[in-house]
C-alpha cells in the first residue's frame, strides 16, 4: 500500500475512534452532567446503574484515541499533548475523579459520603465534557505553534470565547444524548418525570448550537472553505439538521430508541463536519496555517508502523465491536436494581 493511502486510512481509524468515543462515552458523561438534577437517591442510583456495566468500556475509546494518535501520528501527538498541557491535566483530574466516584459512591452507607461523591461525579463529568469541547474548539481555531512544533503561548491561549462556546455546546449535546439514553433505560414514575426534561435540554442544546454555528462563521471562517469549493458536501449538515429535528419528534412519539439513534447520528455528523473543515490538518498552526500546521501527511509514523497498526486494527476492531455488542445486549432493557447494583 502507498504511504499516503495508509496515512488516510489511519486518519479514518482515528476519526472512527473519536466518533465511537463521543457516541458511547457521550451518553454516560451526559448522565453525569444530569446527575445532580435528580433529587432522590433512588433516582441517582438508577442513573448510575443505567451506565454502570458499560461506562468503563465506553471510556476505553478515549485510550484508543490517544494510542491511535501516538502510533499513527506521533509528531502530532507530541505537539498536542505537550501544548495543551495544563488543560489536559484538568481533564485528567476530571477523569480520575469521575471514575472513582462511580465506584466509591455506593460502597458506604452514609448520606454525606454519597452526596459528596454525587457532586464529584457531576463536576467530573462536566469538566471532562467541557474540556473535550474546549480542546476541539482550539483544534478548529488552531494554536500558536511554529515550524518545529514549538508552542508560543500559555494556558490562557486556550480559554478563548470560541472554544468556551464549543465546550458548552459539547455539554448541551451530551446532556441531551444522556437524557435520551436514560429514557430508554427507565420506567414508571421516574421515566415520566424525565420526559419533562426533554424540553429544557433541547432548548439549551439548540441555543448553544445556533451560537456556535454563528461564531464558527465569524471566528473560524476557514471551516467553511471546503463547503464553498465542494457545494455537494452541504448534504452533511442538512442530514445533521434533520437528525437533530428528529430527536424531539421521536421522543414525543415515545420512540426513545429512534430518538437515541438520531442523536447518535447527529454526533457522528458533527464530527464529519469537523473532519471536512479541518482536513488534512490534525493540528492547525495559528501562526502560519499553510506552513507550520501538522497534517496527516507530515506528522505520521513510518510505512512499516502504519502497516503493523492497520493490521492490529483490522484484527482488533471487529473483536472489540463484537464483544461491545454482546455486552450491550446482555444489559439491554430497563434498569432494575438488584444485589449487585451500585
Amino acid at each position: 500500500m502507498e504511504l499516503a493511502t495508509m496515512q488516510i486510512l489511519w486518519y479514518l481509524v482515528l476519526c472512527a475512534s473519536v466518533i465511537f468515543y463521543t457516541m458511547l462515552d457521550g451518553f454516560d458523561l451526559g448522565v453525569g452532567c444530569l446527575h445532580l438534577f435528580a433529587k432522590a437517591d433512588y433516582d441517582r442510583r438508577i442513573f448510575l446503574n443505567a451506565i454502570g456495566p458499560i461506562w468503563d468500556g465506553n471510556e476505553v475509546w478515549l485510550v484508543i484515541i490517544g494510542g491511535a494518535l501516538f502510533a499513527g501520528f506521533p509528531i502530532a501527538y507530541a505537539a498536542i499533548f505537550s501544548s495543551f498541557y495544563t488543560l489536559l491535566m484538568i481533564f485528567l483530574a476530571g477523569i480520575i475523579a469521575r471514575a472513582v466516584a462511580i465506584e466509591f459512591r455506593s460502597k458506604h452507607e452514609s448520606r454525606a459520603w454519597r452526596s459528596a461523591w454525587d457532586i464529584v461525579f457531576f463536576v467530573g463529568s462536566l469538566v471532562i465534557t467541557w474540556g473535550a469541547g474546549v480542546v476541539l474548539g482550539n483544534l478548529i481555531l488552531g494554536i500558536p505553534i511554529d515550524g518545529n512544533q514549538g508552542f508560543h503561548g500559555n494556558f490562557w491561549a486556550f480559554i478563548n470565547l470560541y472554544s468556551v462556546i464549543v465546550g458548552f455546546l459539547a455539554v448541551s449535546l451530551f446532556m441531551l444524548h444522556g437524557l435520551i439514553f436514560l429514557l430508554m433505560k427507565t420506567e414508571g414514575e421516574l421515566h415520566d418525570r424525565l420526559r419533562n426534561w426533554i424540553k429544557p435540554s433541547m432548548t439549551f442544546f439548540i441555543a448553544m448550537f445556533v451560537i456556535a454555528t454563528l461564531d464558527t462563521a465569524h471566528t473560524a471562517r476557514h471551516m467553511l472553505h471546503r463547503f464553498l469549493d465542494h457545494p455537494w458536501l452541504i448534504v452533511v449538515p442538512v442530514i445533521m439538521l434533520l437528525a437533530i429535528i428528529n430527536i424531539p419528534l421521536q421522543a414525543k412519539k415515545k420512540n426513545d430508541g429512534f430518538a437515541f439513534l438520531s442523536s447518535s447520528l447527529a454526533i457522528m455528523l458533527f464530527f464529519c463536519l469537523f473532519g471536512i473543515g479541518t482536513y488534512p490538518y490534525i493540528l492547525r498552526s495559528s501562526i502560519n496555517p499553510e506552513q507550520f500546521s501538522l497534517t496527516m501527511f507530515n506528522s505520521s509514523s513510518s510505512a512499516t508502523t502504519l502497516e503493523v497498526t492497520l493490521t492490529i486494527a483490522a484484527i482488533g476492531v471487529p473483536l472489540v465491536l463484537a464483544y461491545g455488542y454482546f455486552i450491550y445486549w446482555v444489559f439491554r432493557g430497563k434498569v432494575k436494581l438488584d444485589k449487585s447494583s451500585y
Partner: protein, 456 residues
C-alpha cells in the same frame, strides 16, 4: 528546579501509584478464575460466595487502577513530547495494541463480572471472569514489551538526524521479542500472582485471628498459600534468568545493582550494605565469587564493573543498589513466612499461632515492596537513558512546557493520590471488616440532600 527533574518526579509518582493496583487485578484475577472454577466444578454455593466477595475487592482495585492508568497514556505526550516523537513509531504501536487487545476485554467484560451474576448463565459469567483476567494479563504483556524495548531496543533503525531523528521499525517481531521482553514479562507476571496470593493469605489470616468466617478464611488461606508458594519458587528461577539477561544486555545496570565498582575475579555479591559513592566502594557483608557464579556459573570469571564504563553513563548507584536489595529482602521475607505457615499447617496448629497469623496479615506489604522496588531497579538502572544507549532522558522532555506547569500538575497529582489512597484504604478496610457474610445490601432509608424528603 528544571523541567527534566520535575517531569521525572512526576512520572515516578504516577507510575508508582498506578502500579499499586494492576498487580492485584492481575493476581487476584487469576485467583478468581480458580475460585469460580471451583464453584463451576462443585456447584457448591460456598465457592460462589467466596468468588463474589473477592470480585468486589477486585472491582475496587480495578477502578483505581483504570483511573490512574489514564494518566500514563497522557504522560508520554504531556511531559515527554520529544521522546514520543522519537519513539512513536515503535512505542506507539505497542501502546495501541495494548488498548485494542487488552483494555476492551478488561473494561467490557468487567460489567458482566460485576453486574451479571443474575443476568447471565453461570458459564457465561465464568467466561467473563476468564476474559477480564486475560485482558489484565494482555495489558501487562504489551506494557512490559514497550518498557523492555526501552531497556534493550532492537528491530529499529534511526532515520534523520539531530532533533529530527526518529527510531523507525524495521522488524516488528524483533521489537516485540527484544532480548529482555520475555524474561521481564515472566518476572512481572509472577510478581503479580504473588501479590494476589498474599492478599488471600493476609485476609484469611485476619479472619482466623478474629475467629470469624472460618470456612471462608481457611479456603482463602489455603488457595493463597498454595499458589503463592509455587509462584515464590518460580520467581527465584525467573530472577536468575532475568539477572543474567541484565548482565548480558545492560552490564552497567547489573554493576549498579550489586555496586561492582572494580572489575576483578571472584566478583562478590553483597548481601547487605551501603554504597559509598564518594570512595567508590560498597561497605557490607559480601560473599566472594557469588555474583560471578550466579552470572556465569563460574566463581572466577569477573563481572564487568563500573570502571569499564564512562561515568556519565552511570545510573544513581546507591538507589539502584538499595532498591534491588530491598526487592530481594521482600522475597526472602515472603519465603520465610510461607515456610513457617506450611510447617504449622502440616502440624495442624496454624490457627493457634496468633503471632504467625498477625505476621501473615501484614505480609501483604511484602509483595508491594518487592513490586515497587523491582520497578525502581529496572527504571533507575536504565538512567541516564530513556531508550538504552540511544536517547538520553534529558533529550526526551517536552520543550513546550515550563517548570511552573509541571509543579502545578505535580501538586494536583499529589493531592488527588493522597485523597484517593485514603479513601481506597477506608473502603477496602470496610469491605474486609464487613466480611463475606454481609453481602446482602442493607436497605437504608435516605434523606435526599436537597429536599429532605425520605427516599429509598
Amino acid at each position: 528546579m528544571d523541567v527534566v527533574f520535575l517531569s521525572r518526579i512526576q512520572f515516578a509518582l504516577n507510575i508508582t501509584f498506578h502500579y499499586l493496583f494492576p498487580p492485584m487485578s492481575i493476581g487476584l484475577g487469576l485467583l478468581l478464575v480458580i475460585m469460580e472454577g471451583m464453584y463451576m466444578k462443585t456447584k457448591n454455593h460456598f465457592y460462589k460466595k467466596l468468588a463474589q466477595f473477592w470480585t468486589k475487592i477486585f472491582a475496587l482495585f480495578f477502578a483505581v487502577g483504570v483511573a490512574t492508568g489514564f494518566v500514563q497514556v497522557f504522560a508520554f505526550g504531556n511531559n515527554w513530547a520529544d521522546y514520543s516523537k522519537f519513539v512513536g513509531d515503535v512505542f506507539g504501536t505497542v501502546l495501541a495494541a495494548e488498548g485494542i487487545f487488552a483494555f476492551f476485554l478488561e473494561a467490557g467484560f468487567l460489567g458482566i463480572m460485576l453486574f451479571g451474576w443474575e443476568r447471565v448463565k453461570p458459564r457465561v459469567h465464568y467466561l467473563s471472569t476468564i476474559l477480564v483476567t486475560f485482558g489484565a494479563h494482555f495489558s501487562a504483556i504489551w506494557i512490559v514489551i514497550a518498557n523492555s524495548w526501552m531497556q534493550t531496543p532492537t528491530g529499529y533503525q534511526i532515520v534523520g538526524s539531530g532533533r529530527g531523528a526518529r527510531a523507525v521499525v524495521t522488524n516488528i517481531w524483533e521489537v516485540y521479542f527484544n532480548p529482555s521482553s520475555m524474561d521481564r514479562l515472566a518476572h512481572v507476571l509472577i510478581g503479580c500472582w504473588i501479590t494476589g496470593s498474599f492478599l488471600l493469605i493476609s485476609i484469611g489470616a485476619y479472619y482466623l485471628l478474629k475467629r470469624r468466617s472460618l470456612d471462608f478464611a481457611k479456603v482463602s488461606l489455603k488457595v493463597g498459600l498454595i499458589i503463592g508458594s509455587i509462584c515464590l519458587i518460580l520467581q527465584l528461577i525467573s530472577a536468575d534468568v532475568t539477572a543474567r539477561g541484565v548482565a548480558k544486555n545492560q552490564p552497567v545496570k547489573l554493576a549498579a545493582m550489586e555496586g561492582v565498582y572494580k572489575t576483578k575475579e571472584y566478583t562478590p555479591m553483597t548481601l547487605l550494605g551501603f554504597v559509598d559513592s564518594k570512595e567508590k566502594k560498597v561497605v557490607g557483608i559480601k560473599v566472594p565469587g557469588l555474583l560471578s557464579f550466579l552470572t556465569f556459573r563460574d566463581f572466577k570469571q569477573p563481572v564487568q564493573g563500573l570502571d569499564q564504563f564512562d561515568q556519565k553513563n552511570w545510573p544513581n548507584i546507591s538507589m539502584v543498589f538499595q532498591s534491588y536489595h530491598i526487592m530481594i529482602y521482600a522475597w526472602v521475607a515472603m519465603a520465610i513466612l510461607a515456610i513457617l505457615a506450611w510447617i504449622f499447617v502440616y502440624r495442624k496448629k496454624l490457627e493457634e499461632r496468633r503471632w504467625l497469623l498477625w505476621l501473615l496479615t501484614f505480609a501483604i506489604a511484602f509483595p508491594y515492596i518487592a513490586n515497587t522496588a523491582g520497578w525502581f531497579t529496572a527504571e533507575l538502572g536504565r538512567q541516564p537513558w530513556l531508550v538504552y544507549n540511544v536517547l538520553r532522558t534529558s533529550e526526551g522532555v517536552s520543550r513546550s512546557i515550563v517548570a511552573n506547569q509541571v509543579i502545578g500538575s505535580l501538586i494536583m497529582f499529589i493531592c488527588i493520590y493522597i485523597a484517593l489512597f485514603a479513601m481506597f484504604i477506608f473502603l477496602l478496610n470496610r469491605k474486609i471488616k464487613h466480611g463475606p457474610e454481609a453481602e446482602e445490601r442493607e436497605d437504608v432509608v435516605y434523606r435526599t440532600p436537597f429536599t429532605g424528603k425520605e427516599n429509598q
